[in-house]
């Protein structure tokens, strides 16, 4: 009996210790985040003297106005949205179709082709970066949003893999009735599989959103003119020209982060599932 009690006591002790460590760590993790928001609302003078104090003495909401009017925010936002929404549509459609084919059609060559899909998953983007640039140059697509949109419509190995896994788990009899009814394979995908894969669609959609919204290197390489710049480029340029205006810089950083935070709280489940499914993250 006493051994059991002892064990219970030690368990409580461990739990208390765990709480303390988690709280201390949580403060450390949250602090920079909150500091970013707090600095975005302070005056420059206040930031210089406030040290670790987070609460703004005077709430300077006009920092946001100043930050967003110091570069063509509206234009950049539209460009960012365009390079986010179209890749989501393209990726979801192409990868779901290709994933469906790999999951439900066991024909000659399908196994080896799927291996090929898997093997390109870990390929570093640097190897194809330069020739892709040349390709888009030859296609006359430089300094436009198309290089950031077009590839999404041709599938991406990781999301193909996700959809294939999802469709493989669906019952075998699913399409049989439809085939007897004379339904074509494409229609089966469109009418049965696509609607059934809502969780996967949302999960992949969220991941593509995060990747595209936060994409920096792509726009950096392909876009020169202000007309087509995205928010990440805007923020980087802002850092260059307003390096000393911390408050404005933080305001811009908060604005660019906000949609991701909102999306995270709106689709937390999709986030977590996508993440645990992937076991990898995209930066």
């Amino acid at each position: 009996m006493s051994a059991k009690k002892e064990r219970k006591n030690s368990k409580t002790a461990i739990n208390i210790l765990a709480y303390l460590v988690l709280i201390a760590g949580g403060v450390a993790f949250l602090y920079p985040f909150v500091w970013m928001i707090s600095a975005s609302l302070k005056s420059l003078e206040e930031i210089a003297v406030s040290g670790m104090n987070l609460w703004p003495g005077e709430w300077r909401w006009d920092n946001y106005v100043k930050a967003l009017t110091s570069f063509p925010f509206g234009r950049y936002l539209i460009n960012t949205l365009l390079t986010t929404i179209f890749p989501i549509i393209g990726t979801v459609l192409s990868c779901s179709l290709v994933g469906y084919a790999f999951a439900r059609f066991k024909v000659k060559g399908s196994g080896i082709l799927f291996l090929l899909v898997l093997s390109t998953m870990l390929l570093p983007g640097e190897v194809t970066m330069i020739p892709q640039f040349i390709l888009f140059k030859n296609l006359g697509m430089l300094d436009s949003l198309y290089p950031l949109i077009v590839p999404a419509f041709f599938g991406s190995p990781f999301y193909i893999f996700l959809f294939r896994q999802f469709y493989s788990r669906l019952p075998v009899g699913l399409e049989e009735a439809a085939i007897i009814d004379g339904c074509g394979y494409f229609k089966i995908w469109r009418v049965i599989f696509l609607p059934l894969s809502k969780p996967a669609l949302i999960g992949v959609g969220v991941m593509v959103f995060m990747g595209s919204w936060n994409n920096f290197m792509g726009p950096l390489i392909y876009i020169n003119s202000d007309k087509w710049k995205t928010l990440t480029l805007g923020l980087a340029g802002f850092q260059g020209t307003f390096a000393t205006s911390t408050n404005l810089l933080m305001a811009a950083a908060v604005v660019i982060t906000l949609p991701c935070i909102i999306l995270f709280f709106a689709a937390q489940k999709a986030f977590m599932e996508g993440l645990t499914f992937s076991g990898s993250k995209e930066n």
């Binding site: 040290g51 179709l97 084919a101 006359g140 198309y146 041709f154 290197m217 850092q239 950083a253 993250k281």
Partner: protein, 352 residues
């Protein structure tokens, strides 16, 4: 622009297409023509019973990926391999120089510097990230109350975009008014100048990378919850302490996840770019990350040949490291197949 593409482009321009669509239209028409041909050929093959309708459908459905693979992956790889043996500054035609670029590479001190910077970052930050995220995940796995709140808090930083992160941490590590040096000041320590110091810029970037371990943590947490409780119960009956349970049950069980995640983190670390770019390579090139040096060569100085050679060297380094890690993994990664002699590894529980 390519000659044929330009002709199509001009044609559409004369037709009065909107300017914003013009760059897309030539490509779109080529793809459209391609698909007309593909469909026609598929139809004939199926009608003549050379190919079964099932096979034809399969290949039609995966055709977007096949085209994408040829156009954006394997084609560029072959092309990149070719131009790595040429001298090419975009405006002129590529000039074959054999292994010239690779020879130049071995004499290039900046190449060695960028390699050293990238290795420093990868070899220090990736193990730290793995250990830290695993430690947090283990704590969270104690089934404490309010764990959802903690989970959210630790995950939040990963939502901050890379450029915004860098901008934020430049101020957190500000030598005079920054958070880190303020805290150090409380303890009477005069902090270093971080991003302005050749010695301290990299530690600052490494610390910054630890801020976003929340993503890994979630992955480990999911792995931990999949460990069968029967194993813990068995260990408990044998009188195992918490520490021994972690060492003998938890770690072996989640080692495949640790391994896979370690590999992807490593590949990601080798490709670090933003931190180098936004600091212009850092003081004394202390943040001259390989990917940034590659970018400089290819897109600032337009040395496409040399840039491609750099890309291939990076590819080979990553490949070697991955193979090395895979080889080493046999020593510590535990797969259930080994235990049950050929029986299939149990499939993860279905999630509806």
């Amino acid at each position: 622009m390519n000659g044929i593409i330009e002709q199509i482009y001009n044609m559409f321009e004369m037709m009065g297409m909107p300017a914003a669509l013009l760059p897309l239209l030539p490509f779109l028409s080529i793809i459209a023509v391609l698909y007309v041909i593909i469909f026609a050929v598929a139809r004939i093959l199926v009608k003549k019973k050379i190919v079964h309708i099932r096979s034809a459908s399969f290949y039609l459905f995966i055709s977007p990926w096949i085209i994408g693979f040829l156009l954006f992956t394997i084609g560029p790889m072959i092309f990149s391999f070719y131009i790595s043996f040429t001298n090419w500054e975009v405006v002129s035609d590529p000039k074959w120089i054999g292994t010239g670029n690779y020879q130049m590479l071995f004499k290039d001190t900046m190449f060695y510097k960028s390699l050293a910077v990238t290795f420093y970052y990868t070899l220090v930050s990736v193990p730290l990230q793995v250990v830290l995220s695993l430690a947090i995940a283990l704590l969270m796995n104690l089934k404490l109350k309010g764990i959802y709140l903690f989970r959210t808090i630790y995950y939040l930083p990963t939502l901050v975009q890379g450029v915004a992160q860098m901008v934020l941490f430049l101020w957190i590590f500000n030598p005079n008014v920054g958070l880190v040096n303020s805290i150090l000041g409380v303890f009477g320590i005069e902090g270093p100048t971080w991003f302005s110091s050749p010695d301290w810029a990299m530690p600052a970037v490494i610390i910054m990378s630890l801020w976003t371990v929340g993503g890994n943590m979630i992955i480990y947490l999911a792995g931990l919850s999949d460990v069968p409780t029967s194993l813990y119960e068995a260990a408990e009956i044998d009188g195992a302490t918490t520490a021994r349970k972690v060492w003998h049950v938890t770690l072996p069980q989640i080692s495949p996840i640790l391994f896979f995640n370690g590999v992807t983190s490593m590949i990601g670390a080798f490709q670090t770019f933003t931190q180098g770019f936004l600091n212009n390579g850092g003081p004394d090139n202390s943040l001259l990350f390989y990917a940034y040096y590659l970018y400089q060569n290819a897109f600032m100085w337009f040395k496409m040949g040399y840039g491609s050679a750099l890309a291939w060297v990076l590819f080979i380094i990553i490949l070697l490291f991955t193979v090395l890690v895979f080889r080493g993994s046999a020593l510590w990664v535990y797969y259930e197949t080994e235990q049950y002699g050929g029986k299939k590894r149990h499939v993860r529980k279905k999630r509806a």
